[in-house]
Every structure is written in C-alpha cells, then in structure tokens.
C-alpha cells in the first residue's frame, strides 16, 4: 500500500550517525478565524534520528501540538514538508496517510483518548481491528490478542484487561494508551503531554515506560511538553517559540 518502506531500526550507536527517521522542513501552518490569520508554525525545521528520544517544549500556544499533529499526519501543513523514512508523506492521498498512521506511527495524548465503550484490551486491539477487515481479523485475532495481552501485562495491567476506561486510574489509562500506540508495531511514537493530567508519581511512571521503550527497543519518540523537567529526560530538547525552533 504505502510508498514508504520502513526498515527495522538499528540499535542507536554514537559513532555512526543514524539515518533521519523523520525530517520536517520549513513547516508552516496557520489557522483562520474570521478575518484574522493566526500563524501557528512559521517555518519549523526538525529532524529525528531513528531510535532518538526528542522533547519539544514551548509555551502554551507556541505550536508544539500543531507540530505533533502534522508529524502524525492528522493535519495537512500549509507549507513545507514532512518526510518519514526518506519519503515525503504530508502530500500523500488520505487513504495512504490513514494507512501510515495505523502502521508506522503511534500516538499518545494528554487526555488518554481511550474509547469509553471498549475494555482496556479492546482499546489496545483497536488499531489492529482498524487495520484488518472482519474476515482478515478472524484469522489474526488470536495472535493480535496475545500481543495486546503481552503489552498490557508488561505495563502491569494484566489484571485490568476487561476493565472499562472509567474503572481505571489516570496512570493506568495512559499505560493502556501507550500499549495501544505500540500494538501495531510503529517506528515512531508521538506523545502529546502524556503526563499532563497525571500526578507526579504516575507521570514519572509513564516517563519511565517511555524511556525504557526508547532504550531497550530503539523506539523513536517525540514528546511534547511544556514542562522542562520532564523534557529533560529526553536525548535532546527542541524549544519552540512563536512557531519557530529557538534552540537545538
């Protein structure tokens, strides 16, 4: 389906510069409200190497969430380009972008964004259900379920498989959301203030999970936060100010 081929990430090593997994060039985005044009991104350049953990920080309204949405292919930029694993993706047709979003990118949000009607397990399975039609699903169901259960058990939610989101705590919900983001085997994880709604302890737990994923599995992570202390856990910090990258 996709014109973009994705290779398994190699273990990050300081000697050899890893190839850029994600490359953002001169990215622009504005919103129109009435006669006023609100320029959110004014030409952002950004690179993410495979296996890298980057934080994007900035004030509220600096455009960090918009940047994340553009990188996650949820929105189309007004100028500039987004390259994923060497191929340009921001101008692909909707179907291919949907496909990429499902297979190559995992997203975690501040407000968890779990589907309230589904159990924790079903929420984790959702990306795989989206990927497969009904008949294909029947053949991969067992395998998919095993994978989802493994992920949830790994995040300490083995006892919570059949619980609905409203029966879970914030930290647990966010861990379910991370499991959901990972179940499809993505190369890139985009996290939008994943600790924003959590108390310090739970937030630290979530950050530990992300760091572990990055270190042990070489998962490339972009974490957006307004909190410098949280951003400090990343390999590199990118600061956005008024729609531009201030410090690299």
């Amino acid at each position: 389906m996709s014109s973009v081929t994705l290779e398994r990430p190699r273990a990050a090593s300081p000697e050899i510069a890893p190839p850029a997994l994600l490359r953002v060039r001169d990215l622009r985005k504005h919103y129109r409200s009435g006669d006023r044009v609100l320029e959110v991104l004014r030409g952002v350049d950004f690179d993410l190497a495979a296996g890298e953990f980057v934080s994007v920080i900035g004030q509220s309204g600096s455009g960090k969430s918009t940047l994340l949405h553009l990188m996650g292919l949820l929105d189309a930029p007004d100028g500039g380009s987004v390259h994923l694993a060497g191929g340009r993706v921001d101008n692909l047709p909707a179907r291919q972008r949907d496909r990429l979003r499902n297979t190559a990118i995992g997203m975690v949000f501040q407000a968890y964004h779990l589907l309230p009607e589904l159990t924790a397990l079903e929420n984790v399975l959702a990306p795989l259900m989206v990927r497969h039609g009904i008949w294909a699903w029947l053949s991969v169901r067992r395998e998919a379920r095993q994978r989802a259960v493994d992920l949830l058990e790994r995040f300490g939610l083995g006892e919570r498989l059949q619980h609905k989101p409203r029966q879970l705590s914030g930290g647990e919900m966010q861990r379910v959301a991370i499991a959901r983001a990972l179940v499809g085997g993505p190369r890139l994880l985009l996290a939008d203030e994943p600790t924003g709604n959590l108390d310090v302890e739970s937030g630290a737990g979530i950050l530990d999970v992300l760091c572990t994923l990055n270190r042990s599995e070489g998962l490339s992570i972009v974490l957006v936060s307004h909190d410098a202390s949280i951003a400090g856990r990343a390999d590199r910090v990118v600061r956005l100010v008024a729609g531009r990258v201030a410090t690299v």
Partner: protein, 546 residues
Amino acid sequence: MYKLLLCCRYLRTRWIALASIISVTLGVATMIVVNAVMAGFSHEMQTRIHGILSDLVFESHSLSGFQDPAWHMDEIRRAGGDEIEGMTPTVAVPAMLNFQVRGQWITRQVMFIGIDEATHASVSDFGRYLQHPANRGQLSFDLRDGGYDTVDSQATATEPTRPALEAAGWPHRRMRVERERLWRERLDSERPPSDENGEFASPAEKSAAESGKPVRPIDRQVDAVLAATTETPATEASGGRPADPFRQARPEEGTRMDPATEQFTGIVPGIGLASFRDSSGIDRFLTLPGDDVKVTFPTAGTPPKAVSDTFTIVDFYESKMSEYDANFVFVPIAALQRMRGMIDPESGLASVNSIQIKLRPGADLETVRDRLRKAFPADLYAVATWRDKQGPLLAAVDMEMAVLNILLFLIIAVAGFGILAIFFMIVVEKTRDIGILKSLGARAAGIAGIFLGYGLCLGLVGAGAGLALGLAIALNINTIRAGVEWCTGQRVFDPSIYYFFNIPTIIDPVTIAWVVIGAVGIAVASSVLPALRAARLHPVEALRHE
C-alpha cells in the same frame, strides 16, 4: 472489524437510540396488522362475492331476457372453447318479498333470482351457504322434514346456536297450520258468521253479508276459481275491494290444498331477510323454513305488470355478505319463467336473463371475457367477470389499503427523522471518539460505516421487534378483541354488520418482507447524513472536542 464491535457497543449502551426505533417498531407492527386484517377482509369479501357470482356472467340488457338459453350456451361454448367448465341459466328480477310476523306484514325489496337447482351449484359456491346439510350437497326446492343446522356450518369458533332452526321445515309448518286452525275455530265460535268485518269471509260471503242476501253456491265456486288463478283479477272481480291478504297463505280447506302436507313453490331467501342479530350476537328469526311468503314481481313484456304469488321458504342462504344476504331470494328458474310469462307459447322456448359461466381453474377470466364480447353483439349482451361486477367495491378496498399503507409508511418515515436527529446527537457526542479512531488510522469510509451499520442494526432491531409484535397481534387479534371488549364493555367488532364472528386475517409473507425492508431501508437512509458528517470531521478538531 472495529465497525462491527463499535456498532454492537453503541447499540448496547445508547438506549436513547432505541427509543427512536420504538416508532419504527410500532409502525412496522401496525402495518403488518392492518395489512393482515385488510387482506383478510378483502379475501373474505372476494370469496363471498365470487361465491354468489360465477366466474363470468353473460347477460341481457333487457329484463325480458333472451330466448333459447341452450342455443346461447352452445354458442358460448364454441366461442369460449375448452376454458369453459360449466354453465347455468338464471333469471333475475327486482321483486318485493312480503311475510307476516305476529299479524303485521313486512315487505322487503329483493332481487328475485331464478336458478336451475341441478346445475347452479356447479358454477358457484352457492350450495355451500345453505342451512340444510342435504341442500348443501344438492339443492332441492322441496321443504325438508327438519334437520336444519342449529350451529352455523361456517362458524370457526364457538358461536351462539340457532335453536329456532331446530323445528324448521315440515314440523314447523304443521305446527303453524294447527295453531291457525285452532285460532280460526275460536274466532268463528266467538263471532257470528255474518259479522260486518268478517275477516276470513270470502268476497262472495262478504258482499252477501253487506247486501243482506244469502250466499249462493255459485258465488262460492267463482271465488274458488278466481283464487286458484291469480289474485289481482280476483280482487277486481269482487268489486275493487282490497284483496284478502290471508287468502293464499291460508287457503280454505277443501278448496285447494292442505298446507300441512303440501307446499307452494319453494324459495330460498337470504338469511338477512328473515332474521336479525341482536346485541348479544344471537340470531332472531322472523320467519322460518316452512312458512309461506308472498312475492310481487314484474312480468316479462312491455310494460311489465306486477304479479304476486305465494311461496314456501325451504331454506336460508347465508353468504355472510350482508348485502347479498339481505337482498337475494332464490326460486326455481322454471317456476319463475312460467309465472313471468317468459315461455313462448308457440315455440315453447323459455327466456333467461343471464347465463352464469364457470371456467376451468387457472383460466384467464379477461381473455375468455374478451373472446365472448367479440362473439356477441355488445348492444344486446353484456359479458362481465365477477370482478367487473364488483369492480367499484374491490377497487375501493384496494384504494383503502393503498392509502392506509402510505399513511402508515409515513409513520415509519417520521421515525426515520427521529433516527436522523438522534444520530446527529450521537455523532456530536462521539466526536472525540471519531477523532481517536482517525488518529488510529481509521478511514473516513470506515467511520461512516460505523454509523450506517449502527442505523442498520437499529432498523433491524426495530423492524424485528415490530415484526414479532405485529405477527403476535395479527395471529391473536380475536383474543385481543375479546379482551378489549371485556375491558371497555364496548363491542369493537360488531358481528351483525359483517356477519362473521371473527376478524379474518391473512398474513402475506411478501407484504411483510416489503414492510420490513422498507423500515430497515428508512433507518439506514436516515443515518446517511449523520454518517457523512462523522466521516468528514477533521481529526484534530475532533480530538480537541470536549
């Protein structure tokens, strides 16, 4: 896969949507019940119309009819070919039926139909509607010696019996004659024979009494001769005084016949002419088989003259079509032809009004009708199928059914708008979930699919429940009717109007299939707009939605 899962989850958790499909359920149920009852009535009516009318009716425009039915039948057979299975001639004239109940005369306007008792049952269901079991096999215009059904032979449930019919026939006739004889003896003993108002005196006796002269034997003989012919001349001959209405119903012993052992020409009136159904559903009979009645009818020729004769009721005809049961009187065709002067004295050929034709099963009525229309001049003969004869009535019922269906379908359409509104609400409520699904890579078509599938599920559930409810009501409608009547004390379905005790229903699978498909279709159609709206939601805005 997620579409199916989410459909099921939304179906289970969004009860408000189920509220919207209750109207679908009710609409479907009502449509099924109404169609079943209307089809039942329509079928019942057609059966009864067809029961009295043969497949094709070949008739003359003139009341005098056409001569030589045998020749016409041969011609019809030649024109109609193999399709024709049976034929019988009939004579139908408007007439007045007079009978006496407790001393007062009741007159009813009727259609007097001369039928050939040997062949008439072969062209229509006529025989099925008679009250004597033997007459149902082969009609005879001779009075039977009792044995009339006291239980309606067409009854399907326990209905009130008709005990009055038990004595009908010769026993009733003998009893009546005996009673009249005793009554007359008492009257005679109480009054002097020369009483001025002597009710039972012959015209000769009466005029003798008035003039004060003794009655001459020759006057008695003249009276007897006049009475034996027709009544009108007798009245005129006796000085223009009104005819004695009892003359023929109670002939004087010795002059003509013994009513206890003999009968007049037999007739079969519709049961509605002789009885009425009281408020408790019991049939009350005004007159019974064995009683004598008078019928006044026009003679053939121009201008027609009214003649009267006395007949004996030998059976009742009950088609349960009140229009027929209160209108038709059947008489032997030969007797009617003779009395109306329809037999040509020179050739001896009789005339008939019409020929009833029965076709082979499966034959196309219209084709044969058109062939006959071509073969006979249209200004002399009319050929019509039984449907043509009752065309306006059948068309009215069809029209009624069509209009009702349209109205009821509008109810389901209104339910569709309810679904539309509620779905828009659900889409707004689920905006964030839609954003989440899009962030997981769900395609726009997939999102639309969730809501279309949801609409389909609601439609199926609503129509399914409506189907079950409708069938339950249609199958038990008479029990429900009884329950409603018991609760309210009102008669919901008055058998005296329809002459059947139970509401007839016919459940047509094709109609039901269309109703269900239509209802599900409306549910899906009304979820299209909300589904499109959901599919077009912008993922980022949807995710931000609170």
